[in-house]
Symmetry: C2
Subunit: 502 residues, 2 copies
C-alpha cells in the first residue's frame, strides 16, 4: 500500500517512525536519570543502543535518499497550496541536511567515535577527580582527531570548526560568532568589573529552611503561571537538571533541591520550563518533521534564559511572587521585592561555569570558544590547553585557576566529543535579550501584563514568532525575522547595565 | 558473522533481542501507569504497538521456525555437557510451544481481536457504570467467538477452553482443574460459613491516621526484610497495584495508599514483592530464554500469595513487626500481636473479588471458572451470564447480587478477551499453601527463622525450588517436584482451618 504514496508522504511516514523510536530512547533515558534502579543500567544501555541503531538504520536507508531526491525534483507535487509548498520546501531542506550529515559518516568512524567517547568519559571523570590533565589528554587528542575527520566528511567552507558548530547551530560560522562575541566582550569585561565591585546582595535575609515539598509546590505554581502545561508535562528530581521532550504532549523537566536555598530549584525550574514551553509550543501534528521540531541549541537556550533571567529575575516578577513565596516560606515576608530582586541578581566572578551568574557567564563561554577555535585551526595543541585556559581565564575574569579540575577539566562536553557546543550557550543568552527586547517593543501589552503576573502576552509572542516556526527557517534567520534585526550584543548589554549597574 | 552460528545460538540471540524489545514495552507501560502526563497517552500507544509489532515480527520470522526445527533435530549439538543439553531441551520445548502459539494465529485474526478488545473494553466501562449488561453483551459474544477461533487455531484435545487455559497455565486441563476445585469447594463452603459466622476482628483498634510517607517507610522496611533488592527494584504508586519486570535487574512494584488504613498498602506491597522476589530470583544470564523466565501465572501468584498471606498475615510475622509498625504509627502500640493477627485476618462474604479475603476469594474464582467452562462447552450463552452468575453466586456465597456492576460486570478480564485467566488465581492460592507447607516440612530451619523475622531460609528454598528453575519444567511438574506431591486442596484447607477456625 505505502508504495503507492508520493515520495514526500513516504518521507513524512518514515520521519514519524524514526521520531517515535527516538522518543522511546528519550523516555528510557529520562527513566535512567530519574527512577532506574542502579543494577538496571546494563540492560538499559543495550536497549538504548538498539533503539539508536534502529532509528539510524531507518533514517539513513537508501530509499530515504531516493525519496528526498525525488521530492526535491518536484517539491510542489504533494502540496495542496502555496503555504503547504513552502512547508514542504523547508522540510526537504532540513531532511536533506540531516540525511547528508547522517550518511556522510562511515559506520566505522561512528563506531570509533562511540568507543573513544566511552573511554574518554571514564578518563575525564578520573582526571577531574585527581585534577590530572595528563590522564585525559590522550583521549581528548583522539576525540579532536575524530571530530576533525567528521568535519572532513561533512565538508565546510573555511574551517573544520564550522562543520562542528553547524551540527548544533545550523548556518553559524565561527568568524561571524567571533565578531559577535568580541563585541560583547569589549563591553562585558569592564561591566563585570563594575558589577562585581560593590556587593549589594542582602543574602542573609534569605537564610532559613526550605522544605522540598514546599519548594515543589511553589515551583509548580510558578511553572503553571508562566504557561507550562502539566497535562502534557511534569517535574521530577535529578542530580543534573534537564528538560526532555518524550512526545508531542509529554515534556519532562527536572530540578534539584537545596533545603537551605530555594533559588537553585526555582530558577532551575524556570530555566527548564523555558525549554519546555518551546517544546509544548511546537506546531502539533508534525512530530518527526523538521517543521515540528525545535530549530537549534542557541534558540532553545534563548527560551530557557528568557524565562529564567529576563522574567524570573526581574523586579516585576518579585513584586508579584514575593508574597506567594512568603506563603510557603513565611520568613521571606521580612523582605521587600526590591531586596529579593537584589538577592536573585548577585554578580560574582567564579571558577565554575555552571554556577556563574548571568553577568559573568559569557566570559566562561568565550574562553572555551577561543580554545576550541585554536585547536581546530591548529594554533593550539592538546598539551597547550591547561596553560592557555589559565592564562586566558585570568585575562578575562581576573582570577587565578587553582587546579585543572576547576579549570579546563570542569566540563563534561569535550569528553563526549561535543566541540562547538559551548558557543550556543552565549548565543542563547544574546538571543534571549534580543528577543525579549523585541517582544516588548513589538507588543506594548507585554510589559504591563508582566507587571500584573500575566505571562500570556509574552508567551503568545514567543509562540508565534519562535515556537510555531519549527525549523522552517535557519536559526539566525528565525531570530532576525522575529526581532526585526540580526542578533547583536546590544540588548544583552543594555539589560545587564540596567540590572547590575543602576 | 551470525550466519556461522549454530541454530541454537541463533535462537538465543534472537530471543534476547525480542526480550530486550518487550522489556522496553514493559518500561513504557510502567511509565504510563505511574508518571505519564495525561496528554501523552496517544503517542505512547503508538510506541507500544510499534514495539509489539517489532517483537512479534522478529519472533515469528520464518528463520526462527527453521532454527527451532534444526535445533530439535540435533539438540545436543550446541551443548557442552549433559546439564547444558537438558537446559537446551527445555528451552527448545518452550520455544516450540511459544513459536507455534504465535504463528498459528492468522494476522487477520490477531488484528480482529485487538480491534474487538478495544471496543469491548470501552463498552465494558460504560456497561459497568450503568450496570447494564446489554451494552457489553454483543462485545462479549464477539470476544468469545474470537477466542473460540483462536483455540481452534492452537488446537486442543478435549475442549476449546483448555487451549485458552494453556496460554496462561501451560499443561493445565479443565477437567483436572474441576476435580481440584470441587475438592476445595466441598470443604470451603462450610468453612466460609463457619469463619464468617463469628466476628472476631478488633477493627477499631486500628483506627488512626497513617501518613503516606510513614507507610512508605514501613513498607520498604518489610520489603527489604523479606529480601526484595532495592538496587534492582523500586516501589511507586498507582491506582491498581502491580509488579512488572523491566529487565534482569529491574523489577518495579506499585501500591496505593489509604491514610486511614495501612493494611491495603502493606499487603499490597507484600503481594507484589512476592511476585518481585520471583523475578529477582530467576537465573541470571538467560534473559529471553525460557530457562530464564517465570513459568506461569499460577506459579507467579503462588509467590505473591505465599508472602502476602502465609508470611505477612501470620502471628509470627506480627510478633516481630508490630513493634516496628508502632514505631511509625504509635497508636498501634495499644495492640497485642494476637489482636493485630486477628485484625489482618478477617473473613467476610462480599460481592467484589478484588476485595475478598483469603477464605472467600476462591469462591469468587470458582464461579467464574464454571461460567467460562459453560460458555466454551456451549452449555451457556452470553445472555445466560447474568442470571447464571447471580444464581451461582447465591449458591456459593449465600448473598444476593444487587446489580450486574457488582456481579458479572465487575472484572476487566473478559473485556480484554482473557478467558481462562481467572482459574490461575485459585491455582496460585492452592500452590502457595502447598509450597509453604512443603518448605517448612523439608527444611526444619524455616519455621524457627520466620519466628525470628529471618526470611532467608524460606526465600532460599523458593529460590532453589521455584525461581531458579525458570521454565525448565511445566508448571504442574515444577510444583510436584518442589513439594514432593501434586498440588491439592489439602494444605490450603489446613491453613484456613488453623487460621480462621481455631
Amino acid at each position: 500500500m505505502s508504495n503507492s504514496l508520493l515520495p514526500y508522504d513516504q518521507l513524512c511516514l518514515r520521519a514519524r517512525e524514526v521520531r517515535l523510536i527516538r522518543d522511546m530512547g528519550s523516555t528510557l533515558g529520562w527513566d535512567q536519570e530519574t527512577y532506574l534502579p542502579p543494577s538496571g543500567v546494563a540492560w538499559r544501555a543495550d536497549q538504548l543502543s538498539w533503539l539508536g541503531a534502529e532509528a539510524h538504520r531507518r533514517f539513513t536507508a537508501p530509499e530515504v535518499g531516493d525519496w528526498i531526491a525525488a521530492a526535491e525534483a518536484d517539491p510542489a507535487r504533494a502540496a495542496e497550496n502555496e503555504a503547504e509548498a513552502e512547508l514542504h520546501q523547508a522540510n526537504l531542506r532540513e531532511w536533506r541536511h540531516d540525511y547528508d550529515l547522517a550518511t556522510r559518516l562511515p559506520v566505522a568512524l561512528v563506531e570509533e567515535a562511540a568507543q573513544a567517547q566511552a573511554h574518554a568519559k571514564e578518563a575525564w571523570v578520573a582526571a577531574r577527580q585527581s585534577s590530572d590533565f595528563s590522564l585525559f589528554a590522550p583521549h581528548l587528542g583522539k576525540l579532536i582527531d575524530i571530530s576533525r575527520r567528521k568535519a572532513d566528511c561533512w565538508g565546510y567552507e573555511t574551517c573544520a570548526y564550522d562543520a562542528l558548530l553547524n551540527t548544533y547551530e545550523r548556518g553559524t560560522r565561527s568568524d561571524k560568532l567571533e565578531i559577535l562575541f568580541n563585541d560583547l566582550r569589549k563591553d562585558l569585561v569592564p561591566l563585570v568589573a563594575e558589577a562585581t565591585s560593590h556587593p549589594r546582595s542582602p543574602e542573609d535575609l534569605l537564610a532559613g529552611h526550605y522544605a522540598v515539598e514546599k519548594q515543589q509546590a511553589f515551583n509548580r505554581e510558578v511553572a503553571e503561571a508562566v504557561g507550562f502545561d502539566f497535562q502534557a508535562g511534569r517535574i521530577d528530581t535529578t542530580v543534573h537538571p534537564f528538560c526532555t521532550d518524550l512526545g508531542p504532549c509529554d515534556v519532562r523537566l527536572t530540578t534539584r533541591y537545596d533545603e537551605s536555598d530555594f533559588r537553585s530549584s526555582l530558577f532551575g525550574v524556570l530555566h527548564e520550563a523555558g525549554h519546555g514551553l518551546y517544546e509544548q509550543g511546537l506546531p502539533p501534528g508534525f512530530r518527526g518533521q523538521p517543521a515540528g521540531d525545535s530549530v537549534s541549541l542557541g534558540v532553545h537556550e534563548s527560551q530557557s534564559r528568557l524565562w529564567e533571567n529576563h522574567v524570573g529575575r526581574s523586579l516585576a516578577f518579585w513584586e508579584i511572587w514575593l508574597p506567594r513565596a512568603a506563603a510557603h516560606f513565611p520568613h521571606l515576608s521580612r523582605l521587600t521585592p526590591q531586596a529579593m530582586y537584589l538577592a536573585v541578581n548577585h554578580a560574582k566572578r567564579s571558577m565554575i561555569r555552571v554556577e556563574a551568574d548571568e553577568v559573568t557567564y559569557d566570559l566562561h563561554i568565550m574562553l572555551r570558544f577561543e580554545i576550541e577555535r585554536g585547536i581546530f585551526s591548529g594554533d593550539l595543541t592538546v598539551q597547550d590547553i591547561p596553560g592557555e585556559w589559565n592564562a586566558r581565564f585570568h585575562q578575562l575574569m581576573g582570577l587565578a585557576v587553582p587546579s585543572d579540575s576547576q579549570g579546563c577539566l570542569q566540563d563534561i562536553h569535550w569528553s563526549l566529543g561535543g566541540f562547538g557546543y559551548f558557543p550556543t550557550y552565549s548565543l542563547g543568552n544574546l538571543n534571549a535579550a534580543h528577543l525579549f527586547a523585541a517582544a516588548q517593543r513589538q507588543d506594548p501589552a507585554i510589559s504591563p501584563a508582566l507587571a500584573q503576573g500575566d505571562y500570556a502576552p509574552l508567551l503568545g509572542w514567543l509562540r508565534t514568532q519562535i515556537h510555531q516556526q519549527g525549523r522552517r527557517h535557519l536559526p539566525g534567520d528565525l531570530i532576525t525575522r522575529a526581532a526585526g534585526a540580526p542578533v547583536s550584543s546590544e540588548a544583552m548589554l543594555t539589560h545587564l547595565r540596567t540590572r547590575y549597574l543602576s
